[in-house]
Symmetry: C2
Subunit: 99 residues, 2 copies
DNA sequence: TATACATATGAACATAATTACATATATAAT
DNA sequence: ATTATATATGTAATTATGTTCATATGTATA
């Protein structure tokens, strides 16, 4: 595996995007299905504005996508592969925890 | 998959640890074998002190381990699984890049 | 023990990231 | 068109992070 500057940058951006607890929780919650900003804000106990900013970051990292539905906007994971990666890390830390 | 506070914290710490380009590069370099701080500092074009600080973070996240060898200390990946995770993301962003 | 070499640490500085607040934009329904 | 609802954005303040510099610690060998 070669590590050129673009791959390095994109990979660290992806890692950074899911390194923030709120954003990682968003990814987890969206793995069960699409949700709007307000529902996410309630579940995360954060302001709508904060979650909206976080979603923008996740969208820029191509981790989530969204679609309009009536007057709200539904967010979902952009790619199943993302959840595989996250789930792999969840499993990893869970194993390490039980040592 | 359940997301309790401990898993969430450990997982985001792991993601955060490899989200910094220098640290991600360290993981990449160590995937080929063990290296000491000075060699890493040269390859990364950073001061020895900066790399030492980064290694401390990687060690706290249980991503690298080290052993004494003469008067130097050799660092290596704490776990093969770590590189699998990183490599999976490298592959992912490489695929996304070529869209 | 004195010296040289390798690594680690603490403090200070600069930069970046996150949040809250206020407000703007967009859409649907009356 | 007006109102209500949902979401996005700009800005400012707080907090976190990474780097450098100086120095301390550790270790091997003369």
């Amino acid at each position: 595996m070669e590590l050129n500057p673009t791959i390095l940058e994109n990979a660290s951006n992806l890692f950074k995007a899911v390194s923030e607890p709120s954003r990682l929780t968003i990814v987890y919650l969206l793995s069960f299905g699409e949700l709007n900003v307000n529902t996410l804000a309630e579940k995360l106990d954060r302001h709508q504005s904060a979650v909206s900013h976080q979603l923008k970051i996740l969208k820029a990292a191509r981790i989530v996508k969204s679609r309009k539905e009536g007057k709200s906007r539904l967010y979902s994971l952009a790619d199943e592969h993302i959840y595989e990666i996250v789930d792999q890390v969840f499993t990893h830390v869970q194993e390490k925890e039980s040592l």
